[in-house]
Symmetry: C2
Amino acid sequence: MLKLYYAAHTCSLATHIVLEDVGADYSTVRIDFASAQQRSAEYLKINPKARVPALMTDRGILTETPAMLAFVAQSFPKLNLALMDDAFAFAEVQAFNSYLCSHLHIAHAHRMRGHRWVDAADAHSIAAMQRKVPESVGGAFEHIEKELLKGPWVMGERYTICDAYLFTLAQWLEADGVVPARIPKVIDHRRRMSERASVRNAIAEELA
Amino acid sequence: MLKLYYAAHTCSLATHIVLEDVGADYSTVRIDFASAQQRSAEYLKINPKARVPALMTDRGILTETPAMLAFVAQSFPKLNLALMDDAFAFAEVQAFNSYLCSHLHIAHAHRMRGHRWVDAADAHSIAAMQRKVPESVGGAFEHIEKELLKGPWVMGERYTICDAYLFTLAQWLEADGVVPARIPKVIDHRRRMSERASVRNAIAEELA
């Protein structure tokens, strides 16, 4: 059985939603960031990177959201949630997810996790990073709005793993200072996603 | 036919190596960063993100290295360079590539591209980011050394797309201030990679 290690309000929600989408037989383990549980000796055995998400499988542990999303999709091939039977379409799915991971999420991380890239005691630089977040995160969302989100779903007519991932990162945009009026398609996508049963179920469990 | 847009000394080398590995029928277009060709109107039509790599295919343009590497592997399935016939093994391949993209490459980018995350005129913060690079990039390489590189290849006995990507990013480690003696397996892997015909061919073309 699959076991998802997650923390509320983090990118682990994306995998949680897709596990619901496919109807997987899975359990969850909540990692409490407030008490720094992700750095506990016990959790470091699960993920030495001290981050969520992590997915325990019969074969071992997987990490990194783009990899986990494609894994869940490939494990439930009938639903074709990653369009993997078409190399070009799958590559578009992967390019989108990679963009979210390495551009959008990274830009966002400079608001709360600036110590990864400058000395934690350097208050000037930490604040300088935070000031840039509305522009850097906003720019990434505008790129998604203009270039990537085909509509109604990210990849067009077909719902895919990209939708769960975009919805997850779109939870944070107001707190990042992004102006919703500049990205109406993203906002409409977020609203439609929030009405899906898989999304409601995953969020309800995480916030319970 | 595939057409790879690349720039020397960038992560586009990874896809270039894998195109050589699979014996693809492909051509290349060199993008000159010194003259900011990646921001030319002509190139922005290829990739509005103003970055390399980009891969022109019969179906359209692909970007993002993890997606492109898996695409090339899937397009030449006999070589099985992404272990895609095994969902767990493929997810391990993908998790490794995602780590390179969103952790290692991002840490590296804070040396030369700090303006993405702070105001370009803020010399203090730009310098603060640069000072952290030996630690952040070094930490990522030590994680690879200790946890991820199975040996002799990244995924063990089988050469995969991960090897081309790791070799590519390992080109920069000395310039990033990483101490090679701390990561002997990575350094040995880089040396063995540099002897492969595909790697020699790709580098020879890029530096010609």
